[in-house]
C-alpha cells in the first residue's frame, strides 16, 4: 500500500493505493469518474486515454502509485457545467460522435495533439489519433471536428 497525492481535473486527491492498482480502476471504481471508458484492458485501443501533465496516456497501463504530484485530466475536466470545451462542441456539431464509447479518449488525445500542434494538417491529425480506435465513424468527421476546434482555440489564444 502506498499513499499518493495527485490532482484530478485541478482538484487535489490523497489516496491509499495498492502497488498494482491501475489508474483506470482508481478513476472508475474508486472515484466514480465513469467518463473514462475501457475496451481492451491491454493498452491497444486508446479508449481509456486520459492526460497526465497534458500528455495523452493509457490509464489501463498506468499504476496510480506512480502519480505523485501529477495532474490528471479526465473528460470530466473539460466542460464548465454546460459550457463545453471547443473540442467537445466541435465533436457534437460535426457529427463526430456515434456510439460515443471512443469519444472521451478521442477528445483527450485531440487535446494533447492540439497542445503540441495548434494548426495540424489532416495527416498530422490522423497520426496524432493513431492510438485511438473508432469502429463507428470511419474517422473523417473526427478529423473535421479537430480542425474546427483548432481554428476556434487559436482565435481564443490570439483574442
Amino acid at each position: 500500500m502506498k499513499t499518493v497525492q495527485f490532482r484530478i481535473n485541478s482538484k487535489a486527491h490523497e489516496l491509499q493505493v495498492n502497488d498494482n492498482e491501475l489508474l483506470i480502476e482508481t478513476l472508475r471504481e474508486r472515484l466514480g469518474f465513469l467518463g473514462t471508458k475501457e475496451s481492451c484492458q491491454e493498452g491497444e485501443c486508446g479508449t481509456c486515454t486520459v492526460l497526465i501533465d497534458g500528455k495523452n496516456v493509457l490509464s489501463c497501463l498506468i499504476l496510480t502509485a506512480s502519480l505523485n504530484d501529477k495532474e490528471v485530466t479526465t473528460i470530466e475536466g473539460l466542460a464548465c457545467g454546460s459550457d463545453l470545451h471547443p473540442l467537445q462542441k466541435a465533436f457534437v456539431e460535426k457529427g463526430a460522435i456515434q456510439c460515443g464509447f471512443c469519444t472521451p479518449g478521442m477528445i483527450l488525445s485531440s487535446l494533447a495533439l492540439l497542445k503540441k500542434k495548434p494548426s495540424p494538417s489532416e495527416k498530422e491529425i490522423a497520426a496524432g489519433l493513431d492510438g485511438n480506435l473508432c469502429r463507428c465513424t470511419g474517422y473523417l468527421k473526427i478529423f473535421e471536428a479537430v480542425k474546427e476546434a483548432a481554428i476556434h482555440m487559436n482565435k481564443e489564444t490570439k483574442g
Binding site: 467518463g35 481492451c40 485501443c45 456510439c99 469502429r135
Partner: protein
C-alpha cells in the same frame, strides 16, 4: 429551449445524445453497477467437441465469497435459437450445456462472487469430466458422410436454402460467354468498443427479472429469456442504456444473459454483472460466417446477364444463431440489383466445431457483395465491355417486380452508377494503367449494392410502435421501441416526431428500447429503423397533432381539416395565418373546458410478403435502397502494397432525415469494409481464435482513413417517412469488390480471397508474369 430548430427533417442537427457523450456523462451498461452487484463469470468448454459426463460444482459453492453457482440443472432445459419463427429446426442451443459442448468456449456453468478474483477462483474449482470427441473445423469436411456429427442434422448441414427461377442450364447454353469463379471469404469480428455486458436483477419475492444489457434488440432478448426460463414475457424487463456499438453482434440473447438472471435468482436477488473481456469478445461471442462462394454465369455479347448459378458453403460454427438470415442475404440480394430471369443458387450453412457465426453488418451481403461484384466485373471484361456499362445494362429499374417477386418502388441505382462514374472520372481512368511514379500503378473499380429496410425473417410481423405524449408545458416525450446503438436512431425519431408534430427538434425527448415502457420493435438490424420505426413515429406524431387540432378547431369553431401545426404554431391552411402558438394550443387542451391529455400512438408494418424458402420467392423488404461505389487504388508492383486513394459512394437514400448521420453511416461502413478487404482476418486453428486482440486483429485506425466522397440521390420513397429509406449496412457491401476490381484494372491480377494482402498481390503479379513468359 436554448435553440429552436424548426422543420428539422433534412437538417444535420446535432445528435440528441452527443453532448452527454462528449462530456463523458453518457451511461452505458458497462458503467452500470447497482449497490451490491456481484461479479459473474462463465465457465466455458476448453474442448471443441466433447460429451459432458459430469459437472461437479461442490467445491466452488463452498468457496468464501461465492454467492451462487449455476448449471443447466438450475433451469428448465429449453433450447433457443434466433431465427425460430421461420426455421424452427434451427433452435439448437441450450443456454448452459449439460450433454455436449460443441466449440471452445461453449457455456457450461456460471458463478457469481463478491469480486473478480473470487469469481475466477470459483471457476477453476468447478470440475467437469469430458469425453473428448473428434472435431471438425472445415465446412467442406464437415459435410462429408463420416464426419463427426455435431447436432442431429444430416451431414452437419444446419440450413439449406435454394434459389431457383427460370431455366438456368438452357440459358447458360445460349450464352456467348460463360465463366466460373470461386471466392473465399474469411471470418471477421464486430469489434464494437463496448464489449458484451449484462446486469441482471431477479426479484425473488415476485419472480420478476430486470436485465440491463448492451443490446440492439431488447424485445428479442426478452423473448429468448422467457422461453428458456419458462417465464411470462411480462415478468421480464429488458432494457438498454447507451450502447457502445453493435454491428449485429448484440442482436440476440447470449448464454451470459441467461446466466446472469439465473445467478441473481440463486443469489437471493443480488444484481449480477457479467462482462466480456476483449479476448472473450473475439473468441466466444459471434463472428462473421466464412464462406466459399462459387459462381458460374453466362452473358450475351451485348452484356445481358443470361443465367447465374452457384453454391455457397458457409461455416456456421457450433450453433445456428442468425444463420438462415445470413444465408438468405448471401444468395438473394442479387435480385435487388440485377434483372435476372434464370438463376439457381444453393446456400449451405454447415455446422463445425468453430465458434458461432452470426449476424454481422450486412448479414451475408458483404460476402456475396465481394463474390458477385467481382464475378460481374470478370464477366464484363470477358466480353470486352466497360464494367460500368455492364452494370447499367443489367441494373434493376424503379417500379418493377423481380422474378422472385421483390417489389421495388423507388430505385435510383442507374442514376447512382452514372453519377459515380461522372464524379470519379471513370471513363478517363478505367482501363488506363497509369504508372506514375514508376512501379506504382493506379486503377479504378466499381461495385454496386442494394439496401434492405428490414427483412421478413424474424417474426410473422415486423412492426414497430411509438407513443408520443405532449405534456401541459408543451414538452414532447417520444417512446419508441427503436434501439440506438450509435447509429443515431434516437435523433432521427426526434426529428421525425418534431417535423410531423410541427414543433422544434429541441422539444422532443426520447425514451427508447425498454420492453416494459416502450412499444414493440424487433431491433436495430437490416437497416430497418429509419424506415419502419420512423414511420411508426411519424404516425404517432400525426395522431398527437390531430388530437391537438381537434381541440383548437372546437375552440375557434374552425374545421380541423383546415388547420395544421407548423414551425411551432397552429396555422390556418387556407389563409396561412397563425391561429395560436403551439404552447398556447397545448395549454388549451389541458384547460378547464377540455382537460384533454395528448397521447399519440402509431405503428407500422412494412409491405412485405412471406418468403417461400424453397425457392427464394417473396418481397423481403418494404423498400430498397441502392448505391454505386467506385474505388481508386494505387498498387505498388514491387511491394504489393495497396493504397486506397479515394472512394466515391453515390447512394439512393430516398431522402436524408439527418444528412450528417447518413454520411457518418456511409463513411463508417466504407472504412469497415476496407478493413475487411485489406487486413481483417479472424484466424482459427483447431477451433481456437488465433488473434483475439486489437494488436493481432487489425481494424482500421485513423491513419488508414481514406478520402470519401459521399453523394446522395434523392428518390423520395413513396413509403418512407418523408421519403427516407434506411441506412446502416449497404455501404460496406460493394467495397471489397470495388477495391479488387480496381486492383485488376491497375495490374491485371485478380484476387479472389480476402483479405487482399501484399503477399497475395506479389504472388499474383509474379504468376501473371510467368504465364506471359510461358505463353510468349
Amino acid at each position: 429551449m436554448k435553440n429552436k430548430t424548426i422543420s428539422p427533417v433534412g437538417k444535420s442537427v446535432p445528435r440528441i445524445d452527443a453532448v452527454e457523450k462528449a462530456a463523458g456523462q453518457a451511461t452505458y451498461v458497462y458503467d452500470f453497477k447497482p449497490q451490491g452487484t456481484l461479479v459473474g463469470k462463465m465457465l466455458r468448454s476448453p474442448h471443441a467437441h466433447a460429451r459432458i459426463l459430469k459437472i461437479d460444482t461442490s467445491q466452488a459453492l463452498v468457496l468464501a465469497g461465492v454467492r451462487a453457482v449455476v448449471t443447466a440443472l438450475d433451469a428448465p432445459k429449453v433450447k433457443f435459437g434466433s431465427n425460430e419463427y421461420f426455421f424452427p429446426y434451427t433452435v439448437d442451443q441450450y443456454p448452459l450445456e449439460f450433454e455436449k459442448v460443441r466449440y471452445i468456449g461453449d457455456e457450461i456453468a456460471a458463478v457469481a462472487a463478491i469480486d473478480e478474483e473470487t469469481a475466477q477462483r470459483a471457476l477453476s474449482l468447478i470440475k467437469v469430466e469430458y469425453e473428448v470427441l473428434p472435431a471438425v473445423f472445415d465446412p467442406v469436411e464437415a459435410m462429408k458422410p463420416h464426419s463427426p456429427q455435431i447436432h442431429s442434422s444430416m451431414n452437419n448441414i444446419g440450413v439449406m436454402l435454394p434459389v431457383h427461377f427460370g431455366n438456368p442450364d438452357k440459358a447458360l447454353k445460349e450464352s456467348d460467354y460463360v465463366r466460373e469463379d470461386v471466392f473465399y471469404l474469411p471470418s471477421a469480428a464486430h469489434c464494437a468498443l463496448e464489449p458484451h455486458v449484462s446486469v441482471a436483477q431477479y426479484e425473488t419475492s415476485t419472480d420478476k427479472i430486470t436485465l440491463w444489457t448492451s443490446t440492439q434488440a431488447p424485445f428479442k432478448v426478452r423473448e429468448a429469456l422467457a422461453k428458456t426460463l419458462e417465464m411470462d414475457s411480462c415478468d421480464i424487463r429488458v432494457l438498454k442504456l447507451h450502447v457502445g456499438g453493435g454491428f449485429g453482434g448484440k442482436l440476440e440473447m447470449l448464454p451470459m444473459d441467461f446466466a446472469a438472471c439465473l445467478l441473481s435468482k440463486k443469489a437471493q436477488g443480488a444484481p449480477v454483472k457479467i462482462v466480456c473481456d476483449r479476448k472473450e469478445e473475439f473468441s466466444y461471442t459471434r463472428r462473421k460466417h466464412p464462406m466459399i462462394y462459387k459462381l458460374k454465369s453466362g452473358v450475351k455479347k451485348d452484356g445481358t446477364i443470361m443465367a447465374i448459378t452457384g453454391e455457397v458453403i458457409a461455416d456456421g460454427g457450433a450453433y445456428c444463431s442468425y444463420g438462415p438470415t445470413v444465408i438468405a442475404a448471401a444468395i438473394m440480394r442479387i435480385f435487388m440489383v440485377y434483372k435476372i430471369e434464370h438463376i439457381r443458387m444453393m446456400g449451405f450453412r454447415v455446422y463445425t466445431n468453430n465458434p458461432v457465426s452470426g449476424a454481422i453488418r450486412g448479414f451475408g451481403g458483404v460476402q456475396s457483395g465481394f463474390a458477385v461484384e467481382s464475378h460481374m466485373d470478370l464477366l464484363a471484361r470477358g466480353i470486352g465491355l466497360d464494367p460500368l456499362e455492364f452494370r447499367l445494362k443489367n441494373a434493376t429499374d424503379p417500379d418493377m417486380v423481380t422474378v422472385n417477386k421483390l417489389i421495388i418502388s423507388s430505385n435510383g441505382l442507374k442514376d447512382c452508377i452514372r453519377k459515380a462514374g461522372q464524379i470519379s472520372d471513370w471513363s478517363k481512368k478505367n482501363g488506363i494503367k497509369r504508372e506514375v511514379p514508376k512501379d506504382i500503378v493506379r486503377g479504378i473499380g466499381m461495385g454496386v449494392a442494394a439496401d434492405v429496410m428490414g427483412s421478413k425473417m424474424y417474426k410473422s410481423h415486423e412492426s414497430a410502435g411509438t407513443i408520443i405524449k405532449v405534456e401541459e408545458d408543451g414538452s414532447v416525450y417520444c417512446f419508441t421501441g427503436a434501439a440506438d446503438t450509435g447509429q443515431g436512431s434516437d435523433t432521427v425519431m426526434a426529428q421525425i416526431a418534431a417535423q410531423e408534430l410541427g414543433v422544434a427538434y429541441e422539444r422532443v425527448r426520447i425514451r427508447a428500447a425498454d420492453t416494459e415502457t416502450t412499444p414493440f420493435d424487433t431491433g436495430s438490424f437490416a437497416s430497418r429503423v429509419t424506415f419502419i420505426s420512423g414511420n411508426a413515429t411519424k404516425n404517432a406524431a400525426g395522431d398527437a397533432k390531430r388530437q391537438i387540432l381537434e381541440v383548437v378547431a372546437q375552440e375557434f369553431k374552425l374545421g380541423s381539416e383546415n388547420l395544421d401545426i407548423k414551425d411551432e404554431a397552429v396555422v390556418n391552411i387556407s389563409t396561412g395565418s397563425e391561429v395560436l402558438s403551439f404552447d398556447k394550443a397545448v395549454e388549451l387542451c389541458y384547460s378547464f373546458n377540455y382537460g384533454r391529455l395528448i397521447i399519440g400512438r402509431g405503428s407500422y408494418n412494412p409491405k412485405t410478403t412471406p418468403i417461400d424458402f424453397r425457392t427464394g420467392q417473396g418481397n423481403i423488404s418494404g423498400s430498397y435502397g441502392f448505391e454505386a461505389q467506385i474505388a481508386e487504388v494505387e498498387v505498388n508492383k514491387k511491394t504489393g502494397q495497396v493504397k486506397l486513394v479515394k472512394m466515391v459512394d453515390v447512394h439512393d437514400i430516398g431522402y436524408p432525415i439527418n444528412p450528417a448521420s447518413v454520411h457518418g453511416q456511409i463513411e463508417g461502413s466504407i472504412i469497415m469494409g476496407m478493413g475487411y478487404t485489406l487486413f481483417e482476418d479472424l484466424k482459427f486453428t483447431d477451433g481456437r481464435v488465433q488473434n483475439p486482440s486489437f494488436s493481432k486483429y487489425r481494424i482500421p485506425r485513423s491513419v488508414d482513413a481514406v478520402p470519401i466522397e459521399s453523394v446522395f440521390i434523392e428518390t423520395n420513397d413513396p413509403q418512407g417517412p418523408f421519403g427516407a429509406k434506411g441506412m446502416g449496412e449497404a455501404s460496406l457491401l460493394p467495397t471489397a469488390a470495388a477495391i479488387a476490381n480496381a486492383i485488376h484494372d491497375a495490374v491485371g491480377i485478380r484476387i479472389k480471397d480476402l483479405p487482399i494482402t501484399r503477399e497475395k498481390i506479389l504472388k499474383a503479379i509474379k504468376d501473371k508474369e510467368n504465364n506471359t513468359k510461358n505463353e510468349g
